[in-house]
Symmetry: C2
Subunit: 427 residues, 2 copies
């Protein structure tokens, strides 16, 4: 088949007619499919059912290695065993870990909120500083951008490449502008593109010379152990590189078991320097007496303090891989021949990003919606929901059943093609 860009008007009109016929057939079926959110599927959640039912009725299980009863008050930093678990996921040391509740997002929000009201390590509260900014590599995670937007922090878009954020631009901002206070990063299997930051990118992050003392890298290592294939992808240890570069305090690294055990009942932690952890604890000691140490314990028993996580993640991969491949297969089959978009096959994470021809993302998503396939909202992966080229679509294949994904992907490619043809005919 001919690439759309090379088709004459008559050919495009004919193609449009045929696509519209296919599209209408799907519309008739009153479907309700959803590829909008990176939620684990029921089958994945079932993998950890023994975590719910592991037996904690022996006193020696309940008493932690530091003598603390997991059921009682105390232990604000988290139980030692769970520090080890989180540390094992990101290659950190247990004493670099500060545990929180069930949500790393909650911890990121609280970290920003704390900086707003109390500043970072003795610095002026961000709410008392004028015109503060965050760098937002985009496409990125919509919930990151929602936090900075909620606190009225100006967001600056940094372009992404398969190597990671544009580091020339990052360095220019961070090293010269003291109003730049942070940057959101998903360094491994980035949300939504599945990119893995290159060694050079990580090294350049560690060697930033921030103009602001209270600048921090928000390093959301959300997919640190979330491979789709046997191929393990490593990124350099940012904490180690920062320490070596004389920047021991510039990183807050976040990690959780939300997509390892249960999305609604995992454990989350932050990896950072002792100075940053002590600073966070000043507020956290006022905020709560302890997070849920029993759930921490439950995870430690089930995952043997982290040892069993890699093996467990292989089971997740077995469920997720066919869903990703179903989408990729449909794209290869329907999009490649007509050149109606591009994508990169991810090796891990929860998303595939589809790049339409400029100006076609919003229309594609609308068409999909009207045929019963909900996609992540257009613009969502960008600060202020503004996709400058209107070309980025986040595909989340994890939650629906495989047969639903197959069907949704078929509909999606029809929508992409139809939107592209419409656009070309406008021109």
């Amino acid at each position: 088949m001919k690439q759309y860009q090379e088709m004459a008007k008559e050919e495009l009109l004919k193609e449009k007619e045929s696509l519209e016929a296919a599209y209408k057939e799907y519309q008739k079926r009153d479907l309700h499919l959803n590829m909008a959110r990176g939620k684990p599927s029921t089958e994945q959640l079932d993998l950890a059912m023994d975590l719910l039912n592991n037996v904690l009725d022996e006193r020696d299980i309940i008493i932690m290695s530091n003598g603390l009863d997991a059921r009682n008050y105390g232990g604000l930093e988290g139980i030692p065993e769970a520090k080890q678990l989180i540390a094992s996921m990101v290659g950190a040391k247990p004493d670099q870990v500060l545990l929180h509740g069930n949500s790393s997002l909650n911890m990121m929000y609280d970290t920003v909120s704390r900086a707003m009201t109390h500043g970072i390590c003795g610095g002026t509260p961000w709410m008392k500083q004028e015109g503060i900014k965050f760098l937002c590599p985009a496409p990125g995670y919509d919930r990151h951008f929602a936090i900075t937007e909620h606190f009225g922090i100006e967001m600056i878009t940094i372009p992404m490449s398969p190597e990671g954020p544009d580091m020339d631009m990052v360095e220019k901002y961070v090293n010269n502008d003291p109003t730049v206070k942070g940057i959101w990063c998903v360094p491994k299997f980035s949300n939504p593109q599945g990119y893995v930051y290159s060694d050079e990118t990580v090294r350049r992050f560690a060697n930033l010379k921030p103009a602001a003392d209270d600048f921090r890298i928000f390093w959301d290592n959300a997919y640190c152990v979330h491979y789709l294939y046997d191929e393990v992808v490593e990124i350099p240890n940012i904490m180690d590189l920062c320490a070596k570069a004389g920047n021991p305090d510039i990183v807050f690294e976040f990690c959780s078991t939300s997509k390892v055990s249960f999305a609604g009942g995992g454990i989350a932690g932050m990896v950072s320097s002792r100075k940053n952890i002590d600073d966070a604890l000043v507020s956290m000691a006022v905020q709560t007496i302890s997070h849920d140490k029993i759930n921490q314990l439950r995870h430690c028993v089930f995952f043997e303090n982290g040892k069993k996580i890699p093996e467990h993640m292989k089971k997740h991969a077995e469920i997720l891989r066919p869903k990703f491949e179903a989408v990729l297969k449909a794209l290869d089959r329907d999009i490649t021949p007509v050149g109606a978009g591009t994508w990169v096959k991810p090796l891990g994470g929860y998303f595939i990003t589809f790049e339409t021809m400029d100006g076609c993302a919003k229309r594609t998503i609308q068409l999909a919606k009207e045929a019963g396939v909900t996609m992540t909202g257009a613009g969502a992966p960008f600060p202020y929901h503004k996709d400058p080229k209107d070309s980025c679509i986040r595909i989340a294949p994890s939650y629906p059943h495989l047969d639903e994904i197959v069907l949704a992907a078929d509909i999606f490619t029809v929508c992409v093609r139809l939107a592209t043809v419409e656009k070309l005919l406008e021109a």
Copy 2:
């Protein structure tokens, strides 16, 4: 025996000598007793062990009545069953409940923090208002005062009586001063005095006419079901009274199962108007995707959505009552004959407050510490840790074993008497 106040100097000197001898005997024993914090004992935690091991392996248990899988993302307000549980504890309606994680303190902190950065229901953020204040009935809960102190909110002490806070003073401040934004209350078995607000006090709270639109009552119903005897003590439903008084939005009521199930792994919630809940959700939707719904579910199964809580609390009472009575017995035996202090026997909650002669609290606590008995720090129940009369001591008998409590109480009364005699000799 003669009351100390009536003793001549020679009698006091003789008494001092005899007390010092007894005190020194205790010091020799190298004891490590602690009556400082309101922690449940191991025996109490054991009461809920089946909650840890209840079986959640059936799919129909995992799927909530609203169709949500408790294990997955979503359900920010909490599962319907758990709303019912929290509602049942404080006589609220389930739709008045917003759930949080394992800590009501965390929810109070977040509520204040949110008001600081985003204001309440569209009001100006508290951080952008000058000189804001909270009323602090005192003696009160040190962790409440720590929150307002942490955010730099000025604290105004309101005297407590067995009827509750001095309502003339509360009304004068709240109804006239728009910089007064909140008041901390523990209406039932107040921390630390065990007082229960009178019906009239609750009615006057509900009928406040706040000068500030963003004034709220922080109604920490921490001991709502925490009786020491069969005698059930009820307070009027503040939510209902406020609605009747045309003040539907002035209360945030807090409640948790920390001292029902596990201090470190319970569930917590806020009861408030729909308007306040929706306002909180604007920020909470940015802060997290959901709290731990599995732990909510676990509680619902174990407590049958709240029905079994009263019966469960009787088991707590059986463990706590002898400990409280051991302290009261020592006070009756050793303090009453010499008139060295006063106290009120509580019918619930976690504390006994002992009032020394003016100027003797700090010295008593120091003496106790040096004899191996740790008490809550002097001044802790007051804003800025300043007990104006240096007379208030919080006794927390819940955690140690009964025999330890008996011993600690014996030592405590010696310390009280010694400090009192010292004081009288100074004069």
